[in-house]
Each structure stands twice: as C-alpha cells, then as structure tokens.
C-alpha cells in the first residue's frame, strides 16, 4: 500500500501525447460501436487488437511510444437452443388434421448460422404417433401459424439463417390417427442442427466460421431438440333408458289406460365438453304421447319447436341438452298412454 500512495497522476502533455490520445479515442469509438453487448458473446470475425502506450520524461521533454499491436480474431461459436413454446399439451381429437405445435429456435452462438430442422413424430414412451404434415417457418414473425402465409420449410432449401442472439418460430403441423382415445398423448420433437457442423464441444471446422475464422462447436454441441405433446381430448356419451308404469288401478301393470313414464339418462365421459347434445326418442308404436310431458332435469318443457329445449315432432320427442361437460348427466323424461 505504500507504493499506492506514491502513485501520481501525470497530466498528458506534448503533441505526441495528444496524438496518442486521439489515436486511443478513435479506437474506442470504433470498437464501441462495432461491438454492442451480446449475450452470445463477441461477434464472430471481430478482431481483438491490443496496443499499449508509454509516456516518460527525458532531458529533451516528454515522449510517448506505442507498443506493437497484437491482433486476435474471434472465432464463430456454434450454439443453438430449441424450446417448445406451447403453454401445455396441444389438444387434438381422433382423426384431426392440422395440429399446430410451436417451437422456438435461438442462435446462442456468435455468428450468423443456418440451421437444418427435423421433426420426429415417432418418439417412444407415448401413446400414439401422429403423421407429420409440414414444418412451417413463421415468416411473418407474428408467433401465430398463418396457413398459406407462413412459408413451408424444406430441408436444405430454406434453412432459416439466424443472427446471433436471435430466434425464429417454427410450427410443426401434424395429423392425428382416427383410432386414438381420450387422454392419449403423442411426443413430437423438433431438432435443429447448425449447418456448419456439429460435434462434441470444441470440435473445430477450419475456415468455416463467419468472418473467415474457424467455427468451433460450443457447449450445446451445435444441435438441440425440444419435445412438445399432443393430447387427445375426446368425450363419449352413454344413453340409458328405463320405464315406469302407472296403471289406472294404482298398480304397475301395462294394461290399457296405463301411463308409461320413460326416463333417458345421458352420461358424458372423457375429457372436455360434449357440445350440442340432442336426445331424441321415437314414441313406441301403439302408444300415445301425453302432451306437454317432456322434462329436462325435472323442468317441464313445451312440445312446440320454440325457444325451449323440448319438442314433440308427432312421432318422437327431441330435447336439445346443449353443451355438457364430461362427468355430468342429463335426464329427460316423457310420458305415453297405452290405449
């Protein structure tokens, strides 16, 4: 610490020092503008130049000298990450086409790099394999798949070239086979490889880097894969019919004059909601429909084709039960007379 106190600041004087100061400031200005902060690191091809200067006093006055300049070029690091950007499983249904899964490819290297893309729909450990329809590049860069607007990807033809620290969004379009059932899942993966080359970290490709340097494989091995899942959301409905009889004598025998109350219980199962469930039942031959006897969930309905859900067509009853979530039931009743 003793030496520290002895340190003196010596104001730069003399024309050589001014020349040196100018030279220094020029270097700073040039390098600052050419080297914005990149998370991926200094851009490939950038020269690192080091030069030291010294000033000292002689009998003839102050003198400034410069050292030699050492120049080192920054090589291109090949690095990439891929991520699924869907918030969760992408819903599909048996036989559906045009499932859209979204992936994001980020160039975490320090040079412009083209990436080859491969989608794999036949991964193990899942319930079914969809059919790959297309890989599509989000060419209008809005993050949303626009059929007919975004460009279909062809490997080796329009490999996306991504600048350092930049990303592209890619859509994988698939079709779901007809035979799948509710809760089946499919793993769809997207792989991106640096076209310059891949390998263990440190693998070098001489002269292949941006700016004329080498290209060196970084910690990501210059390729990356991400998985996304399709999940089948299917509902099914079971209809259970039962009858109770009330005869004119207070018993339950099917004799003329007896009234039969039919009960139809629709049970929705699976995942999601069954939309626009309509329950219909023909009036049994030889029986007479009892006017205004339709109920839905114990609420009476009219026979007319009107705003309420019930209707008698003359030969059958029909009740529009609406959208029914899985796990719920809807109960419809109506009455007929045995003549």
């Amino acid at each position: 610490m003793k030496t520290r106190k002895l340190l003196r600041h010596r104001p730069d004087t003399g024309r050589h020092s001014i020349a040196s100061a100018l030279l220094t400031s020029c270097i700073i200005a040039a390098t600052l503008s050419a080297n914005p902060a990149y998370a991926a690191g200094t851009l490939a091809g950038t020269d690192i130049q080091n030069i030291a200067s010294a000033t000292f006093d002689t009998a003839g006055g102050p003198v400034t000298i410069q050292s030699n300049t050492v120049v080192i070029k920054v090589d291109e690091l090949l690095d990439v990450t891929v991520a699924s950007t869907d918030p969760g499983d992408v819903n599909t249904s048996p036989g559906a086409t045009g499932n859209v899964q979204t992936f994001r490819i980020t160039n975490t290297g320090n040079g412009n790099e083209a990436f080859g893309l491969t989608a794999n729909v036949a991964n193990g450990g899942d319930d079914f394999d969809p059919t790959l329809q297309q890989i599509v590049l989000d060419t209008n860069n809005n993050g949303v798949y626009d059929a007919g607007v975004d460009t279909v990807y062809t490997s080796g033809v329009n490999d996306p070239v991504i600048a350092p620290d930049q990303s592209v969004t890619v859509f994988v379009i698939t079709a779901t086979p007809a035979g799948v059932v509710d809760t089946n899942r499919a793993n769809v993966s997207l792989n991106a490889v640096a076209r310059t080359g891949t390998g263990t970290p440190g693998t070098s490709f001489a002269g292949a880097g941006q700016g004329g340097g080498d290209a060196v494989v970084g910690s990501t091995t210059a390729q990356a894969t991400a998985n996304g899942f399709l999940a089948v959301r299917a509902t099914s409905v079971v209809l259970l019919k039962s009858a109770t009889i009330l005869d004119p004598f207070g018993g339950n025998r099917p004799v003329p004059g007896a009234v039969v109350t039919y009960s139809l219980v629709a049970t929705v199962s699976g995942t999601g909601t069954m939309n626009n469930l309509v329950i219909t039942d023909p009036i049994p031959a030889g029986s007479q429909y009892q006017a205004a006897s339709i109920t839905l969930e114990a609420a009476a309905l009219t026979d007319a084709a009107d705003a309420d859900a019930g209707r008698f067509t003359g030969t059958s009853i029909s009740v529009a039960a609406g959208n029914v979530p899985a796990g719920q039931t809807r109960t419809v009743t109506f009455k007929v007379l045995i003549p």
Partner: protein, 158 residues
C-alpha cells in the same frame, strides 16, 4: 519474433509523424497476448497452458503481457504505461494490483474500488471489472538505463 516487433514499432512511429525525433528510441515497449488452454491429461488431471493464439472464442481467458525496457542512454522519469482494453475483452484483474483504471474511456482514473459508474436513473453504482475501459501503471521509480520489467493483466473474451 523480435525482428517482426521492431518492424511494427518503426511503422507506428512513422505514423505519428515524428520519426526523426525518435531516431534513437530510448525505450522498448512490447505487447503480447496469450490464451489459457486447459488440457486434460491421460490420467484425468488437468493442466493449464498458455499459448499464443490467432483465434479465440467467447469465454476464453487471455493473459496480456506488456514488457518495457530502457534501451537508451539516459534515465526515463515519470514512466507511465497505458493500455486501452480491447472492446471485446472484459478486464479480469492483475496479479500485483498496482494498476489504476478508467471506466469512462480514459477521462477519469483511479483504483477500481473507488470509481463509480452513472446509472440511467442518475444515481451511481460502484464500478465493476466489466466496466473497465483502460488500464494505467504509473511507475514511481525512474527507469534507469537497461532497466526492464513487465506488466501483466488478465481478460476474458466477451
């Protein structure tokens, strides 16, 4: 190597337009940069070597060596060495800690721990190694004829 260095040296002097005044250059100043490479040996141990690189990648550790020598016939006083840090290099310390630094392009100087950097909101924060733009050594002893030394600092390729 030395021959090549001298050639560069002369050329630089010519650029300053003052070659005649330096006909007898009383001081030599040379700059070298090495990169640290970790090499894993067959037995699993790691060894660090310094090599002269022509190519580096972000994250590489660099060692800068500035050598000086009084090759003249008179003592040089108030000897000061300045090294602007290349923009692509983050300062990573010196071994002796005798340097002063600038974090504003060479306008103000001091020991790193005493400097502050203005934040966008008008307040300041302590300067960090990543803020350093220039290094300077004020050698407080006259550099006698034949005296030499070297200054070493480390950096990381951003």
């Amino acid at each position: 190597m030395m021959k090549a260095l001298k050639t560069t040296f002369t050329a630089l002097l010519a650029l300053t337009g003052a070659s005649s005044a330096f006909a007898a250059t009383p001081l030599q100043l040379t700059s070298d940069v090495y990169v640290e490479r970790q090499i894993q040996r067959a037995d699993g141990t790691k060894t660090v070597t310094l090599e002269k690189p022509t190519m580096v990648t972000p994250g590489d550790n660099l060692v800068f060596v500035v050598k000086y020598k009084n090759v003249g016939t008179a003592t040089a006083n108030n000897f000061v060495v300045t090294n602007p840090l290349p923009a692509a290099v983050k300062f990573d310390g010196t071994s002796d800690g005798l340097e002063i630094v600038s974090v504003d392009g060479g306008k103000n100087w001091g020991i790193l721990g005493t400097l502050r950097v203005a934040k966008p909101d008008g307040t300041t924060r302590p300067a960090l190694r990543s803020d350093v733009t220039h290094l300077k050594w004020n050698l407080n002893q006259p550099l006698t004829v034949g005296a030499e030394g070297k200054l070493i600092f480390r950096g990381v390729v951003k």
